[in-house]
């Protein structure tokens, strides 16, 4: 669906996107992840035909984004960051206008407008003026607009930006339900969201791809460490003993309470040391009331990647 090869975009001497190459297959939901200013929006703007790349190539469904811009725009439903809308129009009126621009006519236009309003749950506000709507509704109107011409590819720039947790969940469900008909490329800096929604994650930092994999593999294969929490009862501080276990990098004592001591062990992510902790406890005669492992989240991965300088890329 998307084929990007050596895509570069420079603004006045600053390189926003630096020789980016990736592919997205039809039917995938791909998350674009990166800190602010990483080049996510720029890449999406290029893919939606809004502006051309400085060099390199981007194809959407086999069409070049620059030379066949109109063709690309017919196939792409794009929702820009901050969901810009005409504030003086009413919701239904706006969607009608957009549908007409995108080539829908007559009965199909009316039917489809009703359909996307239903899908994005804005039917109740269809007669309200957009400028007076809350952020959540505006966001959904913009999403309805992106969907209205049944695009093969949906490009959503931070679709959950500024929404409350219930609305975020709503958008997530909606995206999942849309995967049947559309390929989706979305950007976000909420990692949790990518973990929940996407088949694949493309992490970019300073215009370069840092990692590209499924969310599970990313967290697993990364240098990021997991945490093991253990709470046990012993007469003395046992941090030293715990630290001697293989795979443990660091032991943090979090609290002590009437003889119960809680420790957090930072462990390399591939190793599971819960059993050895239990064995050690049995051998030493400590009582255990908590033992659990906390896997690294994409957040940890993200922080680690962002911190790493571009020379030390974990995935080359």
């Amino acid at each position: 669906m998307i084929h990007v090869h050596e895509l570069t975009k420079q603004y006045a001497g600053r390189t926003a996107v630096d020789r980016l190459s990736f592919d997205v297959e039809a039917g995938e939901i791909v998350g674009f992840l990166g800190p602010n200013g990483a080049g996510k929006s720029t890449t999406m703007r290029i893919l939606s035909g809004y502006m051309p790349p400085t060099s390199g190539m981007a194809l959407v469904d086999g069409h070049d984004v620059f030379r066949e811009s109109l063709e690309v725009r017919r196939k792409v439903g794009y929702m820009p960051e901050m969901a810009p809308l005409y504030h003086d129009m009413r919701v239904k009126e706006y969607l009608h206008f957009r549908a007409e621009l995108k080539g829908l006519r007559g009965r199909d236009l009316r039917h489809r407008t009703g359909e996307v309003m239903e899908l994005c749950a804005v039917t109740d506000v269809r007669r309200r003026v957009i400028g007076n709507l809350s952020k959540g509704f505006k966001q959904r109107v913009a999403l309805a607009d992106a969907l209205i011409h049944r695009p093969k590819l949906l490009i959503l720039d931070e679709p959950t930006n500024g929404l409350d947790p219930t609305q975020i969940r709503g958008v997530r469900e909606l995206l999942r339900s849309l995967r049947e008909q559309h390929t989706i490329l979305l950007s976000t800096h909420i990692l949790h969201e990518v973990e929940q929604t996407c088949d694949r994650v493309i992490m970019i930092h300073e215009g370069k791809i840092q990692a590209c994999d499924t969310p599970r593999n990313l967290t697993r294969s990364l240098r990021a460490t997991s945490l093991v929490h253990v709470e046990l009862q012993s007469a003395t501080d046992v941090a030293k003993e715990l630290e001697a276990l293989p795979g443990v990098r660091k032991v943090m004592t979090s609290k002590t309470d009437k003889g119960w001591r809680a420790y957090a062990l930072r462990v390399e992510s591939q190793t599971d040391i819960r059993e050895s902790v239990l064995d050690l406890a049995t051998a030493k005669g400590w009582r255990i009331r908590e033992l659990h492992r906390q896997l690294p989240t994409l957040e940890d991965v993200f922080v680690e990647l962002a911190a790493a300088d571009s020379g030390a890329r974990p995935f080359g």
Partner: protein
Amino acid sequence: MCLWNWRRRIQGQGHLDDETMRVFWTLLKKELRAFFVSPVAYIVLALVMVLGGVSFKAALSVLESAPSEGSIVTWTFHAQWFWLSYFFVFPLLTMRLFAEEKKLGTLETLFTAPVRAWQVVGAKFTAAMVLYAVIWLPSLGNFWLLDWITGGKVEIPVGALRGSYLILFAMGIFNLAMGCFASSLTSNQIVAAVISFTMSVLHFLLGVFALVVGRRLPESMVEAVHYVASVEHIRLFTQGLIDTRPLIYYASLTLLFLTLTHQVVEFRRWKL
């Protein structure tokens, strides 16, 4: 129509099919709607009606006070009140066109829909042009009313009237095109209005300048400056003298500024 053909050729884009025209109509409808749901159209309409009435009254006083050379039409379009309304109309009509979309960020949604830049520029300009034509209509009523009250005793030369409105329209589209251009340069409507107003006034003053110091200039230069002098154009046309030179002059400048606007709007595509 020749305008669109010309544009299309410039861009080397395909034939003018139904779909292309339909997108244009959709955009035009939206622009016209935007004028009439905001107070802008009504404020401009009221302003022009009031000042039109005042300049008409001024023209009547001139004719009452002494026998004069010109007709009621000539004096109406020579009143200072007329020029006052004239310069305020263009910034008010055009400042919003592109500046607002830039500010809201809707240019991005607009240009990721399958629309071409010339359709957007054309639709916005046409909407402003339609509105401009509409706001001058009530002033025709003044002449009709005078004719009705006096029972046809005051002579209202029809040719001069037609000529006046023709040149008014020609000068108007030129100033509107400049306004479009000004609006495309900035995301601030006030700045757009100031640029548009300054350009209109400067163009006007260029003509006045020649009339003021004209006698001290060589003949050929006066000729040249008359070519751009709006005051001179109005003088000729309100006497019923239809000269094609000013018409061509304004039409070509309109095209020039619309092309510039188009380039500015498309700039992001060439900025590599």
